[in-house]
């Protein structure tokens, strides 16, 4: 393994890490601003211009708060919970293609930490590990409300993972690959998957809301019933980790939505820009396009949060098991029939 490769990958990984952190940080600011906009208020405007330094001030406040510890027999697990939540939120970004190849210093630089064959399965795997952050934290808090929140979160995530996985199967049947890089490359121009698989996109979007524990599915931290849900007992930066992990998850799931269904880094006229202005400029536009798309999704998350009230728990389970899963199976069958229509026609003798 040559050292240039290691340096290249390290730089990509560190930049992606930094961007995830900054995006998660400014999502908290954006959330307040969007909430203020939707409720006809001003929002944070004291720290910096338009409240731009508000996330820094929040971070400082969290750091300086008292580190409260409940009377729990599982002190170690109490520490581990937020760590798992944060680590898994940051790990998912490893397989996301942020752009096509850059041509710099006489070598091709791929804007992706690693291009593995099973990228989507990797994302699903890491997301499913993320539940343990909530479960272990909620359990170790030694608090009934926390435990209720943790159990709700776990059952919700397990139920919606099924629908999420099934909704993506129809898409994979069409693309024929699990690698996110190839899925992005296939959507060049305006061949976005959302035009071919709108139902799959809708189911995936709903499941993404449930997986990131956002309203209308944030029953794990339902304030009116459970005080603060799984992070009732947490304070200081440990709670900050949970909140931060939620925003990092939101950022990553928006990115995955953009990559799977909205063409990733592709934008109309990309091939023209590559031919006339070169690869690097085309790629800069590509990254900008991807970020525009994912910021749109983040805004959509916030918009929904401040518009739609929370579901009741039985309604949530009903939606997941009785509506989304059958719908995605129907979607798979329709996709299969459309893909194999030629063979079916010859088989039936048309």
């Amino acid at each position: 393994m040559d050292s240039a490769f290691i340096i290249e990958k390290s730089v990509v990984i560190i930049v992606v890490f930094a961007i995830t952190m900054v995006m998660a940080m400014y999502s908290t600011w954006a959330e307040r601003k969007v909430a203020a906009f939707l409720q006809d208020r001003v929002g944070p405007n004291r720290a910096g211009w338009g409240g731009l330094f508000q996330p820094l001030a929040d971070g400082l406040k969290l750091f300086s708060k008292e580190e409260f510890e409940p009377n729990t027999p599982n002190r170690f697990l109490f520490f581990v919970g937020p760590g798992i939540a944060m680590a898994t939120a940051l790990m998912t970004s490893a397989v996301i293609p942020w752009g096509d190849r850059f041509h710099l210093f006489g070598r091709d630089i791929l804007l992706q930490a690693t291009d593995i064959d099973v990228a989507i399965l990797y994302v699903f795997g890491i997301v499913s590990v993320g539940v343990y952050g909530i479960m272990i934290g909620g359990w170790a808090s030694n608090n009934k409300f926390s435990l209720m929140g943790a159990i709700r979160a776990a059952s919700q995530m397990v139920s919606y993972e099924v629908a999420m996985g099934l909704s993506i199967v129809a898409l994979l049947m069409m693309t024929g690959t699990l690698s996110l890089k190839e899925i992005s490359a296939q959507q060049a121009g305006m061949n976005w998957n959302v035009f071919y698989q709108p139902l799959s996109f809708l189911i995936f979007l709903i499941c993404a809301f449930a997986e990131t524990n956002r309203t209308p599915f944030d029953l794990a931290e339902c304030e009116t019933e459970l005080i603060g849900g799984y992070h009732t007992e947490y304070s200081s930066m440990k709670m900050g980790f949970y909140l931060f992990a939620e925003y990092a998850n939101m950022f990553i799931s928006s990115t995955i939505l953009a990559v799977l269904f909205f063409g990733g880094y592709n934008y109309p006229g990309m091939s023209w820009v590559v031919e006339n202005w070169g690869v690097n400029i085309a790629n800069v536009f590509g990254i900008a396009a991807l970020f525009a798309k994912l910021c749109g999704f983040i805004f959509f998350y916030m918009w929904v949060r401040w518009t739609i009230p929370r579901f009741r728990y039985d309604q949530l389970m009903h939606l997941g098991w009785r509506i989304l899963i059958p719908l995605s199976i129907v979607n798979i069958m329709i996709t299969g029939i459309v893909i194999l229509r030629g063979e079916i026609a010859t088989y039936l003798g048309f």
Binding site: N74, L77, I116, D117, V118, L121, Y122, F124, G125, I126, V127, S128, V129, V131, Y132, M135, I136, W139, L147, A150, I151, A154, S155, M157, V158, E161, L178
Partner: protein
Amino acid sequence: MIRIPDFANATPIQIIFCVLAVITLFTAFMTIYSRKPMHSAIYLLICFTSITGHYLLLNSQFLAMVNLIVYIGAIMILIVFTIMLMNLNKENEVYKPRITRLGAIVTFCLMCLVLIAMFINSKPIVGEYTTTGEDYQSIKVLGKVLLNEYMVPFEFASVLLLVAMIGAVLLSKKEKTTK
């Protein structure tokens, strides 16, 4: 004979394997040994995660990811979930009579004997993997092999799982009382 590994000239892969193997065996042991059910579950969780690492070392990414999704993401969550819902205290632990404990000890000693005999007489049979020119990392090859060569066992396994699932749903359903 038991081969003693050559630590001085170990390749990075071998070192990673040794670390993973120690984690796997230690957590598997602690799963049985630890007194609290929740701690057992978490040790089992780490054990499964390290097995994912073993699959990655064997170059089978697909199996590693499926192991991660199925065992850690589904089965272990259900186990942890059950432990959280049930109140497993020391008071309602099942009392085991002395004869059962004695039997367990004898069985364990016999198993140790068998294992030791096996390890002393074992010879490494698998020399090298013969490369068939097929990339078994890729899901395309795996899917074709599964649905061509092993079509019948694959379908039987899925039918078996379906039957088990229907049975579980049937068992959990309340019987309707005739009024």
